[in-house]
Symmetry: C2
Subunit: 213 residues, 2 copies
């Protein structure tokens, strides 16, 4: 097996070319394609071409929120680490994760609930101009749905936890919530996928980036 000679700058472009080629018989909404392809780029898993669900106008609404400097909230330090902070801060978007906060840990212990659940409560205090990038905890999505049922209206929920317990059902709760969302149906997802979807959205607004699409 041979190593191809390729310039660092060209690796991403060539990867997207291969992905586009392998997807070629699939009908993918052009607005959604940069996200679907970037998720496949991050996972090498073409299942996402089938499982990624976009609520109506999700991409447009997400871009509007980013342009207005929405707060980006993750449920893991890993997702936080994976989001391109330079691209976010150019738009005036702050990126935060409350999972390691002492007050969150304490309340979770006291109440016997997950820190992810308490993190969502803390995020909600920051208002409605929030995009959630949830790649790990079904309990985060379950809590968000409770808040939505009580009137909360965040700008977008990226709902892509991975796993085996309450993962599939928690994602459906978000799809049925009426709030704009991008969800990976089924068991698959992860913090890397959450960060990747967030970055795909950010790159759509970053003119300095020869955005691979």
């Amino acid at each position: 097996m041979k190593i191809e000679k390729i310039e660092p700058m060209d690796i991403e472009r060539e990867s997207f070319r291969i992905i586009t080629e392998e997807l070629k018989d699939r009908a993918i909404d052009p607005e959604q394609a940069p996200i679907v392809k970037r998720v496949i780029h991050t996972s090498a898993d073409f299942d996402y071409a089938d499982t990624l669900y976009f609520s109506e106008n999700a991409v447009k609404l997400a871009l509007d929120a980013l342009r207005s400097g929405a707060l980006i909230v993750t449920d893991t330090q890993m997702a936080l680490a994976g989001i391109n902070k330079r691209a976010a801060s150019k738009l005036g978007c702050e990126t935060v994760c409350f999972m390691a906060d002492e007050d969150v840990a304490k309340r979770a212990r006291d109440e016997g609930v997950t820190r992810a659940r308490v993190s969502m409560d803390k995020a909600k205090e920051r208002g409605d101009n929030v995009i959630f990038a949830i790649g790990n905890a079904p309990t985060a999505l379950i809590r968000l749905r409770e808040h939505i049922d009580a009137g909360y209206r965040p700008k977008l929920i990226i709902g892509v936890p991975v796993g085996f317990v309450n993962v599939v059902a928690s994602k459906e709760l978000i799809i049925e919530s009426g709030v704009p969302c991008i969800v990976a149906r089924g068991r698959k997802g992860g913090s890397n996928i959450a960060a990747c979807i967030m970055n795909a959205l950010l790159y759509m607004l970053d003119e300095t980036r020869g955005a691979a699409k």
Copy 2:
């Protein structure tokens, strides 16, 4: 679809029970099983039961290195964020990523190579008692193989980059290198998988953790 009531503490145990059940007809080496299962736990992707390659005694050699306080080097901030630093530091293992270092960025620019490649050079200066957790950059693996061919002998290489360009071939270079390794053959992998394999190894040595296996 219903949300199951389950205590936060029990979610991981129940997830591993489901994974074990779904794997039940597969023969998995008992020493490797905690790693294979944790990778499936992180990805919900049973393909890894087929694609994870372990060199002879890789797990035993990795645990020996961790007990001796090996340096853990990643090729992304995301993998670094995903590694359980508390478990690592209990063993005296430092965890580092050189990708954002200014000297690395400068050399990469000057030489027209990837920062991942330069990071590997920087890690090598720290000696042989190193475990590499590489979840992103084929160029990191290619560079490590060059160093190995010149006599470098790190303790373990976790070789799980994801992607479409040189990914498959770079992993085979590591498998054929003769250095202890755990590799996800094929296109799949990722920073989350690198961190997850590292954590599975750390948890094998963490007696305070009722390690889900």
